[in-house]
């Protein structure tokens, strides 16, 4: 599946949901927020939220800031 991930093209392998994507990326779901096509996906929905070709996915976390 080809998606836009944090602004770059990304070819996801064994991914059908947001949960799968985070597992593939090795990302702790508790530490991030996920947006698909500009809409936030709540943590409780990660396991069932289906991704599809062309989706625009953003995964953000906290960094140092003032």
């Amino acid at each position: 599946m080809k998606i836009k991930l944090n602004g770059d093209d990304y070819a996801a392998k064994q991914v059908s949901t947001v949960s799968d994507l985070l597992v593939e990326l090795g990302i702790n779901p508790l530490r991030v927020a996920v947006e698909v096509n500009m809409a936030i996906v709540k943590k409780a929905q990660y396991a069932e939220f289906a991704l599809k070709d062309g989706d625009c996915v953003e995964v953000v976390n906290f960094v140092g800031g003032g």
């Binding site: 927020a33 995964v59 953000v60 140092g64």
Partner: protein
């Protein structure tokens, strides 16, 4: 004296043990960030919301060093120049974190990083209606400060000087007017504090807290400066509560005339 010391900052039912809030930007590394925050005694730390580095997942995470069980995490909307962006970052920050607190920034100009107060007011109103505890980074303008409170802000955070400038409290009289006219919410000086005396001045004016990032992180020894800021905020608050003497032009002898030879 006891009443002066037992004087806690509370916002939306959340009690803070420190009146010094600190940012986490601009440190050399996370280890230094952690040590400086420990030295500051703060329990409220600001963070920014940014893309995860997908291709370098071994890189350390800020929250490995700043334990959200120990510190209250305050996501900001730094870098947002429009209401839409600020709302987006605020919502992402809430989803990534564990609380409804947001330090709301809607920036109007790259060079000064002054707030776009029109955008700030709009974003405050929308986010407050969505249940956020909105802490807007504002100009030192009493009128907009009151408007922000009317729009649902849980505190107002007027700047002392431009972000990262270290110029101190440029308009203490405006801050004083904000403190006298804007009732019911804490007033927290945010931005411009360059050294301990700046923090003390903010607190002596009667501000409820001070938020400092660059003044600590940019110091030659950030950990020592964090400790200095901690003491300055405590000293300034105590001095405010203690009630300073009136200024007078001429001397008033401290030692008695009686008993002189």
């Amino acid at each position: 004296m006891e009443g002066v010391l037992n004087d806690k900052l509370v916002i939306a039912g959340v009690e803070f043990k420190s009146r010094l809030w600190v940012g986490t930007g601009k440190y050399k590394d996370f280890e230094e960030t952690k040590k400086a925050i420990e030295a500051s005694g703060s329990d409220m730390v600001t963070v920014a919301v940014r893309r995860v580095n997908i291709f370098d997942r071994k890189s350390p995470n800020l929250l490995d060093y700043i334990d959200p069980k120990v510190y209250k995490i305050l996501p900001n909307t730094a870098g947002c120049y429009t209401v839409e962006d600020a709302l987006r970052y605020a919502r992402l920050g809430r989803e990534a974190g564990i609380s409804d607190f947001v330090k709301l920034e809607v920036i109007g100009d790259e060079k000064t990083l002054f707030p776009d107060v029109c955008g700030l007011l709009m974003a405050t109103e929308i986010l407050a209606k969505e249940g956020f505890i909105v802490l807007p980074y504002s100009n030192d303008d009493p009128i907009i400060a009151q408007r922000l409170v009317d729009a649902g802000a849980a505190a107002v955070m007027p700047l002392g000087a431009p972000i990262g400038s270290g110029l101190g409290i440029r308009n203490p009289y405006n801050i004083k007017i904000i403190l006298e006219t804007v009732k019911g919410v804490p007033i927290i000086v945010d931005a411009g504090v360059g050294t301990a005396s700046d923090a003390a001045i903010a607190m002596e004016l009667g501000c409820d807290a001070a938020l400092i990032n660059t003044g600590i992180a940019g110091a030659t020894d950030p950990i020592a400066m964090a400790a200095a800021m901690k003491h300055a905020v405590i000293a300034g608050r105590l001095a405010f509560k203690a009630g300073r003497i009136q200024r007078r032009l001429y001397a008033a002898a401290s030692s008695p005339f009686d008993g002189m030879l």
